[in-house]
């Protein structure tokens, strides 16, 4: 599978979605998993665009591959080191008036997939997320 290179911004989300969901469909992933992939892509892309590149644009690479019985997607950016797997879970004990608005996206993105891994390789952040191809 070829690697897709885009500029990280909300405007490139439709292209990234189409690319990854197309590959996921060809890999025979169930429909329920597609919406979760959709969620991971949106959350990570928005985060990379807004935080890694501070809304100034920067490269994002998207690679899809099959590993064992899973469909995997690797997202690579060249922002400052950021491990999304360290995102804190929400504090649900609070009253809604005290809940912070925001900060949930990364936690959702790393909780939804069946498997998630992060690596800092050279100057790049690499997040790989996988969904098993069970029916």
């Amino acid at each position: 599978m070829a690697v897709l290179s885009v500029t990280a911004s909300l405007a490139s989300l439709p292209e990234v979605r189409e690319y990854v969901l197309g590959q996921a469909r060809r890999a025979g992933l169930p429909k329920g998993a597609e919406q979760k992939i959709d969620l991971v892509l949106e959350e990570i892309l928005v985060n990379v665009a807004n935080h890694a590149y501070r809304r100034e644009g920067g490269p994002l690479e998207v690679d899809c591959f099959l590993r064992d019985d899973s469909f995997c997607c690797l997202l690579r950016d060249w922002g400052p080191p950021f491990n999304p797997l360290e995102a804190a879970p929400p504090d649900v004990g609070q009253d809604i008036m005290d809940q912070p608005i925001g900060g949930l996206g990364i936690f959702l993105a790393t909780t939804m997939p069946d498997h998630c891994a992060y690596e800092r390789l050279g100057n790049a952040n690499e997040l790989t997320f996988c969904f098993t191809r069970k029916p």
């Binding site: 909300l10 989300l13 329920g32 919406q35 979760k36 959709d38 969620l39 949106e42 959350e43 928005v46 879970p89 929400p90 504090d91 649900v92 609070q94 809604i96 008036m97 809940q99 608005i101 925001g102 949930l104 996206g105 936690f107 959702l108 909780t111 939804m112």
Partner: protein, 109 residues
């Protein structure tokens, strides 16, 4: 995202359909401002037609709920299923908000 609103038993029922993502969620923000402007006290968001929600959608919901609560109102939910239900569970929203299985339950509650 599409909305259809009806008034039932003193509550405003807002049926939300489609996708609530970083691109479309401003439509929800605009919609919720009308409830506040109209002085609605009980708003039931019927999400049975909602296919997808991301953290951007959750942010809008929380902002609307806070404003509504600040003016003595309440936002409750019904009809969650599929990935929308899963996102509510994982994000803790299911624990923070009142969620009914069906619209009838929400109207009775």
């Amino acid at each position: 995202m599409e909305f259809s609103t009806t008034k039932k038993d003193g509550a405003l029922v807002v049926a939300v359909e489609g996708r609530m993502d970083a691109i479309t969620t401003t439509e929800f923000d605009a919609q919720s401002q009308t409830w506040l402007a109209d002085g609605e006290k009980k708003v039931i968001a019927d999400l049975s037609g909602l296919e997808y929600i991301s953290s951007a959608g959750l942010r809008s919901i929380l902002a609307a709920a806070k404003q509504l609560k600040g003016s003595g109102g309440q936002l409750v939910f019904c009809g969650l299923s599929g990935m929308v239900e899963e996102v509510f569970n994982v994000s803790g929203f299911a624990a923070m908000f009142t969620i009914h299985k069906t619209l009838d339950d929400a109207l009775a509650g």
